[in-house]
Amino acid sequence: MTDAYIYDAVRSPRGKGRKDGALHEVTSARLSAHVLNALRERNGLDGHAVEDVIWGNATQVMEQGGCLARTAVLASDLDERIPGLSINRFCASGMEAVNLAANQVRAGAGDGYIAGGVEMMGRVAMGSDGAAIAVDPSIAMKTYFVPQGISADIIATEYGFSRDDADALAVESQRRAAEAWGDRRFDRSIIEIRDQNGLSILDHDEHMRPGTDMQSLGALKPSFKEMGEVMPGFDAVAKLKYPHLEAINHIHHAGNSSGIVDGAAGVLVGSKAFGEKWGLTPRARVRQTTKIGTDPTIMLTGPVPATEKALKDSGMAISDIDLFEVNEAFSAVVLRFMQAFDVDHSRVNVNGGAIAMGHPLGASGAIIIGTLLDELERTGKGVGLATLCVASGMGAATIIERV
């Protein structure tokens, strides 16, 4: 079997996913094209250079619909002979794109791929593509559907995380992100977004709130208490699935959950021959890819079984992993991961995460792979594991090792 390597990883800065966010004026296709063009230019890819562009996106309607991947290729400077594949595994879409690309390379189905994703959360609202699992009673009732925030609060209740635990993790995420930016640790990956005249639109992650402390977070009201306890009463549904719980402890709020942002990221994946052809040096090998399904009600515990499976399938132990990127969808997701594997926070999300910098759903999986790779290189470490929780009860993980 051919090995699959990562040759490059880039990302846009993350803009606030709101009307006043810096990237709000940029279309999904254009932001995607920025990333594709950056990979093309940085690596000198001409003509029919890659087999496919696999593009993750979690809300494939309106401007993100109609096979955005192909639209983005055509909006970019890539050759029109390169097709495009839009995929959706919710928050792991960007990771799944990389994994799909790597596995096709390993199987000999093409030498090189661009994989990544985009999410313009301020332009195409989360959930605006509908979802039968939430709205079709025969499915919603059978699966005890609750929104993600409730699921995160179930994790906190079931595994005993307090509001302080969650807030402390958020404070640390902000502190680390600020430090990483101050240290220019993201320089290798970040591409400045410019307009058609070459004028700068955004060159840094806009969502961060440096200086966030326990006191400022303490003032925030829990976001999911009302919908849990009053209307429409999701806690009652949660307790149908988790009847040993007396009440759901609503600890999550805007400050200890991931930020809503716009962003895009791409990874160049290829075989050894691909690198030789284009004169590129591989940065890391894709060691293992995993996806799993899990209980859809608690929904967001996927990183634990996904990591277990990735380790098992690759014959590795948790101690073999030097650094972890666990997507900070909600504080409890990361807290649960560290608890389950008894991993110290000093090895997890060392440059901050989505709580500080935001979580552009379809792009995040590719972003954290890039962040992980940059940090392995910076610190001279070998092996990293990136993982995300995924809506509807799924999880995904990727293990990379530097070569």
């Binding site: 009732m141 429409p232 009847p243």
Partner: protein
């Protein structure tokens, strides 16, 4: 003889009148549908007919609903393919109602004749589904009329287009209280809810309908027009999305996932909202068939509709002349006496309420005044009505006021001596026409009857608390109780519009006999280290209104301890509940007496609002590492009650399984979806039940031992209703 007749007027208005012979309210049966269709065909084909009014020959009502026995028959008649039979039968109903709705229009909505529904009053179930298919609904301004779709209450949902039409008429949000809660409205509220179109004075009902029919109105239903949009938004409209997401959660939470009809209803609404009207009707029919095929729905219909009504109408009443109560004596003006006084005065009886002091008696009477004041505040009662009721109640200390009473209910302190004294004093004042009843919940009737020299006229009438809210009354025959006393008690219960069951005299009678093991099983689990929330939530997911621990807090720990001590004294070495007592006596010692003490299995705030489980519980009984499966907890809670019901039947305490089922649901909220303890055993099958009992016995002890009757039935593969249902009906 047909239930429907048509009269064609010279003005071109044909009036179809529904009048079911021999019934006080119209009820739809299969022949009725065919007759109605034939008349509609006739009217549509007759050029002299310009339009139709569909009305009722009954004063004050349009129709009470469908004869639910018909559904059972539809299923049974279909032989090997019951689902097919039901589906086709339901589609047949749709075709008839759709014919009314389209009324001869072509596919461009041209032509057709207006059909108005004129409702003199109450219109329930199919009695509203047919009007919903008409083009305009006129309701007489009749404040006592009830209009709505109560199907969900008996475990089904409106399946003759009512679901699909109401959602399209009002939107999912507007229709949901009517469909999901079976909410009934008087005509005015029905109009403001959008269910009926016009409310008119009763004597102008037909004139107004006629005026409309002759006004050449547009008759195309919104959903048959191009570009129809569902009010409030269809499921994938941004507003509709939130409604539908919320609806599943609310129904799931409120029903604890235990009622198949609510789920099926919601699916019919959602799936139907995504397709054109005729396809939506087909979807509704498929889900309706699915519900009818669910054993839960037939069990619910059987217990909550057919058998409940049969018991209310005196299925087990001995032959005796009318025993309607005119003057009632109530001894003891405590909570029970006050409640009994209230419901009896409400039913029009003259009530003499006696207590030891005038003050106590007056306090008992004021319970009725307070109750009526609340009703007046909510616009449900009037000052006149209150004055009328209070006039009927005499609060006194004078036993002489009992003269002329034909029924006395004793509700004094649960002490045999005090009861005997009150009984003697009361009986000294009345003649032998008077039946004497005791409202004891724990003392044997036969023993108490010794205070009377007419034990044949002595009976137990066991009310549940609060009297005005609980639907069931348990009538207990002592050894010597005669048929007239039973008839008296039954006629009285009918007067106060509650449901009676008649049982024989034994410890705890029937209801408490089953409730106590349910509570005890929950308490045992606490001692085993099962998470308290799991115990109560498991019960709620079975459809019980409250879990066992919450229930003990409501009824109080000291009452539990008192019963335990008495039972222990009576049973001696056979007493099986040591493990339970350990917890109860400890709680009692800690002063955790339940809600009334602001401290029980739960903590309570100063206002008495329940907070979380008392942390002291887990300190004393640490949570076990291994928690049981939900299903195991549920089976323990279910079998604890159900086996007691079977034993009560074996012992002859219970004489009719219908009473066992109806009583269980109404008295303590036994899993209504199951149809009751005996119906539940039929649903899971006696062979499985016996096997499961063996497993539970092996793990948890002899209290789960399979009763001989159940063992025998399991061996033969018999069901309770198959074996005892017919017998009960013949009786």
């Amino acid at each position: 003889m047909t239930d429907f007749t048509m009269e064609k007027g010279a003005d071109g208005v044909a009036i179809i009148t529904w009048d079911t012979a021999g019934k006080s309210m119209n009820v739809m049966n299969s022949q009725g549908f065919l007759d109605l269709e034939a008349l509609i065909d006739d009217a549509l084909a007759d050029d002299a007919v310009k339009g139709v009014i569909l009305t009722s020959g009954k004063e004050g009502s349009f129709a009470g609903g469908m004869d639910l026995n018909i559904i059972a028959k539809m299923r049974d008649d279909a032989g090997d393919e019951p689902a097919k039979g039901l589906f086709e039968g339901v589609m047949g109903m749709h075709a008839i109602l759709r014919k009314i709705e389209r009324a001869g229009m072509d596919d461009k909505n041209k032509g057709g004749k207006p059909i108005a529904a004129a409702l003199p009053g109450t219109a329930l179930g199919i009695g509203l589904e047919i009007p919903l298919a008409c083009h305009r609904i006129f309701a007489a301004d009749n404040a006592s009329a009830k209009i709505g779709l109560p199907e969900i209450m008996v475990g089904i949902f409106p399946g003759a287009g009512g679901t699909t039409r109401l959602v399209r008429k009002l939107g999912a949000m507007g229709a949901s209280p009517l469909l999901l809660e079976g909410k009934l409205n008087d005509p005015k509220k029905a109009k403001s809810a959008g269910v009926v179109d016009e409310v008119v004075p009763a004597d102008e009902l037909l004139d107004k309908a006629r005026e409309w029919v002759l006004s050449n109105p547009s008759i195309v239903k919104p959903w048959d027009e191009k570009g129809y949009k569902m009010p409030g938004g269809a499921p994938y409209h941004p507003a509709g999305f939130m409604t539908f997401v919320g609806a599943s959660a609310m129904v799931n939470g409120k029903t604890q996932g235990a009622f198949p009809a609510a789920k099926a209803l919601l699916s019919a609404v959602y799936e139907g909202a995504l397709v054109p009207f005729d396809t939506a009707l087909k979807i509704e029919a498929r889900w309706f068939t699915h519900v009818l095929m669910d054993p839960s729905s037939s069990a619910m219909i059987r217990s909550l509709f057919i058998n409940k009504e049969a018991l209310e109408k005196g299925a087990n009443r001995p032959d005796a002349p009318d025993q309607k109560v005119r003057k009632l004596g109530v001894l003891g003006a405590g909570m029970m006496g006050a409640g009994i006084t209230l419901v009896s005065a409400q039913a029009g009886m003259e009530v003499v309420l006696i207590d030891q002091s005038q003050e106590a008696a007056e306090r008992g009477k004021s319970y009725t005044a307070d109750y009526m004041d609340k009703g007046i505040k909510r616009g449900k009662a009037t000052e006149d009505k209150k004055a009328e009721m209070l006039d009927r109640i005499t609060a006194t200390t004078d036993y002489g006021a009992l003269k002329g009473c034909d029924l006395i209910i004793e509700a004094v302190f649960e002490d045999p001596g005090i009861k005997a004294e009150a009984t003697k004093k009361a009986l000294a004042e009345v003649d032998e026409n008077c039946i004497f009843a005791t409202n004891t919940s724990t003392l044997p009737i036969t023993d108490l009857a010794q205070a009377s020299d007419r034990p044949e006229d002595f009976i137990g009438i066991h009310f549940f608390s609060p009297v005005e809210k609980m639907y069931l009354v348990e009538i207990i025959k002592g050894q010597a109780t005669g048929p007239r006393a039973v008839a008296k008690a039954l006629d009285y219960v009918r007067q106060i519009r509650k449901t009676p069951i008649v049982v024989n005299d034994a410890r705890f009678f029937y209801c408490n006999r089953c409730i106590i093991p349910y509570i005890n099983e929950g308490i045992r689990m606490v001692a085993e280290g099962v998470a308290p929330a799991l115990i109560d939530n498991a019960a709620r997911q079975l459809g019980f209104p409250v879990g066992p621990l919450q229930l003990v807090d409501e009824t109080s720990i000291d009452l539990g301890a008192k019963i335990a001590r008495a039972t222990r004294a009576a049973m001696g070495d056979d007493y099986p509940d040591e493990a339970v007592d350990e917890v109860i006596f400890w709680m009692e010692g800690e002063g955790r007496l339940g809600r009334k003490a602001g401290a029980g299995f739960f903590d309570y705030d100063e206002k008495g609002k329940r907070q979380g489980y008392w942390p002291g519980l887990v300190e004393k009984y640490p949570r076990a590492e291994e928690q049981p499966d939900l299903i195991e907890v549920q089976h323990r809670l279910m079998f604890a009650q159900v086996l007691e019901a079977v034993r009560a039947f074996e012992d002859g305490v219970l004489e009719d399984i219908r009473e066992g089922d109806v009583g269980a649901i109404l008295a303590w909220g036994f899993a209504p979806w199951s149809g009751g303890p005996f119906s539940w055993l039929d649903i899971i099958g006696t062979p499985y039940a016996a096997e499961r009992c063996d497993q539970l016995t092996a793990r948890f002890g002899p209290r789960f031992t399979t009763p001989a009757l159940l063992r025998e039935m399991a061996d033969k593969g018999q069901g309770f209703y198959a074996r005892f249902g017919q017998e009960a009906q013949a009786a």
